[in-house]
Every structure is written in C-alpha cells, then in structure tokens.
C-alpha cells in the first residue's frame, strides 16, 4: 500500500482558514503544544472526533463554560486516550454498518502528552495499535509532566532537571535516556509512524494528512517546546524546535509500512550544545555530561540512518524460498 499522494504540493495557501482550535485558550506564552494542536486540527478537518487524555491541553482549552475546541471533543482520564479513541472508532463503525449515521469518513483521533502516552498510557496505546483500530494517535511530547508542575516522565531527556529529578550535589537531574516510543510503535507493525514538530508546520501537517488517510492505526510523535518547563525564552519556541532537529536530538522521519524516510534532511548536525544552552533545565550540565549526550545523539542518529538506508532495501525483498524444506 502506498498512501503517499502528492502531499508535497501542500502549500501555505492551501491550508484551511477555518480554526478548529481557537484562540483565547489559557496556554502559556510561547506554548509549542497549543500551536501544534491548532495545526493538527487544520490538517484533520471537521470530520474528526478527538479523544483527549488529561494534561495541559485539556486544562487550558476546556475551562467550563468556555472551550477552544471547534471539533467533537471528549476529555478523559490520564491513561485512556487510546482506549477511548478505540471505543469511538468502533462505535462509529457499528453505527455506520447499521445505517444509523451517514457513511462518512469520520476519523477517530486520540491525543495525549508524554506522561499520558509514554508512562501511564502505554498499555492502552499498545492495545489499540495491536487491535488495528482506524485510529490516529498523536503524542504531544513536552518532555515532562508540565501540567502538574514539571515532574519527570520517561520522555524527559537525560540530564534535564525537573522537580522529581532535581539537579544538585547528589544528582545531575534525569538519569535515564528518553524512551523511544516511535520505535515501539514501529514494532507494532502499524501502517504509519512519524515524528513531527510544529517548527516545521507543513511537514507536520503533511504527516497528519497522511495518517488521516491511513486505514488502520497510525502514530505521530510531536515534540512540543514548553518554555515554562524547559526554562527557555518564550520567543524562542520555533527556534528550539528547529534546533532539536538540526542537532539531531529529535530527527524528523516517517515510517510507512516499515520503510523509514527522513523528511527533514540535515546536511551536517550542529553540536548538541547549541540546543541545550538555551534551556534552563540543562543549565547545570558539566562538559562531560554534555559529551555523553552528544555521543548518544550521534549513536541514535546513525541507528536511524542505518534503518533509512538498510531497511529500505531489506523491505523490498520478497521471500521466495520454501519454508520447512
């Protein structure tokens, strides 16, 4: 299956002028996540049902009796975005089959943050992917539990200081490496997995459009810059997102039916320090820890390149022998 239409033609003037995630919400200044949601909604269009696991986005956008959502939207507990999304999809399917609702392509979309996806929601996410629901899951990863006051998550990068991985004499902050959830999703053999960033809006929206077209589960991992939690200047949000890509900390790629493709090519990776130095959460890092992070980034980036180059050839191979000779 090739789901790529000519998405490269997607130009700014073709972007929907309708706002589905409206202004007036309570996000912090420079919130990368609110921007990403706005772009996502534009790419999805109105025939969408959004299941939103609790977190910043639910709190800032749905303070009763106001709402920023111009789409059908349901809010649920922390760990259940994928499960409720599955239910929405299955329910719509059943009603369509019985002829109770018009036969339209209404996409079920589940969204949650890094805590709700990578920690407590992993189980329901894995279940939804395994069952093969026609569901798009978008993880807005701001690399900690920002809504509750910046506690570490398994998405928090190595060395970052948070309130539950404090930096000081006894510790340099987060001591584990970021969990690679896109890879876990690829391991579920789903048709479409991608990483994205609102700093590359057309790339991000293309990916959402593709994922919307996919019949079956798809997963997009979006790095959402959080000036409040990252202790970065709020006017640097877009730049921080770009630096994450340019340093190779967060490469933008997609995996279609197991085939890897880098969507935003970087000719030469910038030193990781360019990215770290703008963020207060990394301020305490000593050169040797930065060196460790640099090593790891190169390692992971090379692994990704191997998959892009290697798996491409590999996945075209057809098995022609006989089993159990």
């Amino acid at each position: 299956m090739n789901i790529i239409e000519n998405f490269e033609l997607y130009a700014p003037r073709l972007i929907d002028k309708e706002e589905y995630f409206c202004s007036g919400h309570r996000a912090c200044q420079g919130c990368g996540e609110a921007l990403a949601i706005r772009l996502m909604c534009k790419a999805l269009g109105p025939d969408t049902v959004v299941a939103n696991g609790t977190g910043c986005m639910e709190v800032i956008s749905s303070f009763y009796p106001t709402t920023a959502w111009n789409l059908p939207w349901i809010h649920l507990a922390f760990e259940n975005a994928a499960a409720v999304g599955s239910g929405v999809e299955a329910g719509l399917k059943a009603l369509r089959r019985k002829g109770k609702i018009p036969d339209r392509d209404v996409k079920a979309v589940a969204i949650a943050g890094d805590g709700g996806t990578m920690d407590i929601g992993m189980q329901s996410l894995s279940g939804a992917m395994e069952r093969g629901h026609d569901l798009l899951y978008v993880c807005f990863d701001n690399e900690a539990y920002m809504n509750t006051g910046i506690q570490r998550s398994s998405g928090t990068p190595f060395g970052a200081a948070t309130t539950t991985s404090p930096a000081g004499r006894a510790s340099f902050g987060q001591k584990t490496w970021k969990k690679n959830v896109p890879e876990i999703m690829v391991a579920h053999n789903v048709p479409y997995v991608a990483t994205a960033s609102p700093s590359y809006p057309l790339d991000f929206m293309n990916k959402v459009k593709k994922a919307r077209k996919v019949k079956g589960p798809s997963y997009i991992h979006c790095l959402s810059v959080c000036p409040t939690g990252w202790r970065s200047a709020s006017n640097l949000t877009i730049k921080m997102g770009r630096l994450a890509v340019e340093t190779g900390v967060f490469p933008l790629y997609e995996v279609e039916d197991g085939k890897y493709r880098i969507t935003v090519e970087v000719d030469e990776l910038r030193p990781v320090e360019d990215y770290l130095k703008h963020q207060g959460r990394f301020r305490h890092l000593t050169p040797d820890v930065i060196e460790m992070i640099q090593e790891r980034v190169y390692q992971e980036y090379n692994k990704l390149l191997d998959k892009v180059n290697g798996l491409h050839a590999w996945s075209d191979l057809k098995f022609e022998g006989e089993l159990f000779e």
Binding site: F78, I120, T148, Q151, R152, T163, A170, S171
Partner: protein
C-alpha cells in the same frame, strides 16, 4: 525538642515520614499533592539509605510499595482522589497480605477527574475499604499542619503494629496551607526490631511465602476470620477524636479535617451569641469514634454533620447514634470551602427551629 518550622502541609507529611523511618517512597504526579512527591525526591536523594521512585502510573507506585513493604522497609505512597482510585487494587492486596504501608490521599473534588480544589469526596472510598474484598483500612484525618506531622508518625506505627495499610486522609487545603510545625526527633531505622515475616533471601532458613490467592475456601475463610479479629482489636484500641466545648452543649457539630477547622470557627461565633454548641472532631475515620458520640447522645438531641461533600460521614454518625437524636446535614461539594459564618448561620437556624434556647 526540635524548633518550629513553617511548612506546607504536603511537605510536612514528607518530613514526618522521613523522621518516622520511611525509606521508600513511590509516587506519580497529580495535583494538589505534588509538593509531597517533590519533597520526597529531594529528601530521599539526601539520605544514603532512602529510595525515591517516580513510577509510570499510580498502579505501579502502590505495587512498588507492596514490594518494598514485603522486603521490610517502611514504605509510603501518595496521590489525590482519581489516583487513589487507581491504587485500590494494591490497597486490597496490602490488606490481604497483611503488609504495612502508608497511603496519603489529598482529596479533591469529584467524581471523574473533578477539579483540584479541596474536598472530602472520598470518605466512603476510604472508610468502606475502597478496593474489592472483605477488608478495612485504618483512616486518619488530620486537621492541622502539626497534626499532619504527628499522625504521619502514628500512621507508620499503626501500619507496623497491625500489619495493615493506613490511609492519611487530607485534602487540597491541608496539603497546600503553610503552618508552623514542630517535628518529633527522627527515629534511627537501625533501632527497629527485625520483622519476622519479610522476604529477604532464604539462605540458611526455610523460605517464607506471602500470598493473597487462597483457592481453597476454608483457607480464605481463615484469613477473613483472622482479619476480622484484627479489625476488632483495632476498633477497640485506636478510635481518636477531639471534643470542643461539648460538656454543656445541647447541640453538637460533627466534622473532620478542614471542615472541622471551619466548624470550630463557627462554634466560637455562636458561643459568643450564647448558643450552647460544641464540636466533635473524629481523628480516626475508621475505626469511627462511636463512644464519644454515644455518650453525648445521652443529653444532646440535635446533631449537625458538616462535610465538604453531599453527605458521607453522616451514615457513620447515624450508626453511632443508633437512632437517638436528630441528625442534620450541611455540605458543600465540588471543592467549595464554606466560611465559618455560613456554618454559624446553619447552626443558628437549627438551634432556633428546634427551640433549644428554651432548654
């Protein structure tokens, strides 16, 4: 005697736990109790024998506490209402396996995700077991910063003494408010007497087994009987309450935690008007302090239950009174904090409606 320190309620629980010899804490972010998790992250880092784990979910946190408790450590976890719901399976296991543990619930408005404002919405869940199965949990309800600290130590003592989970039931107000606190001297964990039942490697001795699956009904019945006997002892030994101006009262307000502090203000106000009103504040919610209520019911006819919910403790009050006296109720749910004036008005209207001034 250590000196007075100004501290937030949640942090006071953390400091008191460390001083009570708690060396294992597992938590998960949820408002309004993150200050406790954050405090434990720093405090455990500073101890060379302490462990702090931020779990991947509430369920994982409570099960880590089960593990730590089995290994013999004084272990604690904390959360707020929706998170405590997720922990119920683990609390049921703690009860079945007779493992000591301290669980802190900083209650907020519910049901569902509710809000993050102080509430007393989880009284039923806390005192009626909460999880599945035939069990009880000791529930302590502090009403001040000092009491948070004191009852945290008590909680660890009860947990070890009765080999049972103990719940500290606070609310967003208790957790966030800053008050001066005097902490007790820290206990040296090396002075704890060794526990005879822990799982710590079986070299040179027969292995021990802790389980909660008893497929054979008579075995399960034995466990239930053993637990029931234990609960009977607890019910006899630990009920705690505070009586305030009850000796000459002809009307009694019953409230716990934050609600009790508001009610105390209201009682002071109506006393100035000459109304003979007293306050009974349960400190243990399970076991419920039945006896003082029963004694009061000999000469008091009117009882007003004030809760920050739509009426949960009122059931226990009625059970304790066994039909004697009139039980009135005033409640504000959803995270609304009443003012003492509001309660005073309610007291006033009941007082005059029932013609108590003529007594």
């Amino acid at each position: 005697m250590s000196k007075k320190v100004l501290m937030r309620g949640s942090q006071a629980i953390g400091e008191a736990a460390v001083r009570a010899g708690c060396r294992f804490y597992a938590g998960y972010p949820i408002t309004p109790q993150n200050e406790l998790t954050e405090y434990m992250a720093e405090a455990m880092d500073g101890l060379n024998d302490g462990t702090f784990i931020q779990a991947e979910s509430e369920l994982a946190a409570i099960n880590m506490v089960i593990g730590a408790s089995m290994a013999g450590a004084r272990a604690m976890t904390s959360s707020s209402s929706p998170g405590i719901s997720l922990k119920q399976e683990g609390i049921s296991f703690l009860a079945a396996q007779e493992l000591p543990a301290v669980i802190v619930n900083t209650m907020r408005g519910g049901p569902g995700l509710g809000n993050i404002a102080p509430s007393q919405s989880d009284y039923f869940q806390a005192t009626r077991g909460g999880g599945h199965g035939d069990y009880r949990t000791i529930v302590l309800a502090p009403a001040s910063g000092q009491e948070l600290a004191d009852l945290t130590r008590t909680a660890f003592e009860y947990a070890d003494k009765y080999r049972s989970p103990v719940l500290i039931l606070g609310d967003g107000m208790m957790g966030q408010m800053m008050e001066p606190i005097v902490f007790p001297e820290p206990i040296d964990v090396r002075t704890f007497s060794p526990k005879s039942w822990i799982l710590d490697g079986a070299k040179g001795r027969p292995s021990r087994i802790i389980l909660s699956l008893l497929l054979n009904p008579p075995e399960q019945e034995d466990l239930n009987w053993r637990l029931a006997r234990k609960y009977e002892i607890i019910t006899r030994e630990i009920p705690m309450s505070e009586s305030y101006m009850t000796s000459d009262a002809n009307m009694i307000v019953i409230a716990y935690g934050t609600a009790a502090r508001i009610a105390k203000g209201a009682v002071k106000r109506v006393r100035e008007l000459g109304l003979k009103v007293g306050l009974l504040r349960p400190i243990t919610l399970w076991p419920f302090p039945n006896r003082p209520l029963k004694e009061l019911s000999r000469h008091v006819r009117e009882f007003l239950v004030f809760e920050m919910n739509m009426g949960q403790m009122i059931d226990d009050v009625k059970l304790a009174l066994e039909g004697r006296g009139n039980v009135h109720f005033y409640g504000r749910p959803g995270g609304i904090i009443s003012t003492p004036d509001e309660i005073a008005k309610t007291i006033n209207s009941i007082y005059h409606r029932q013609h108590l001034e003529e007594d």
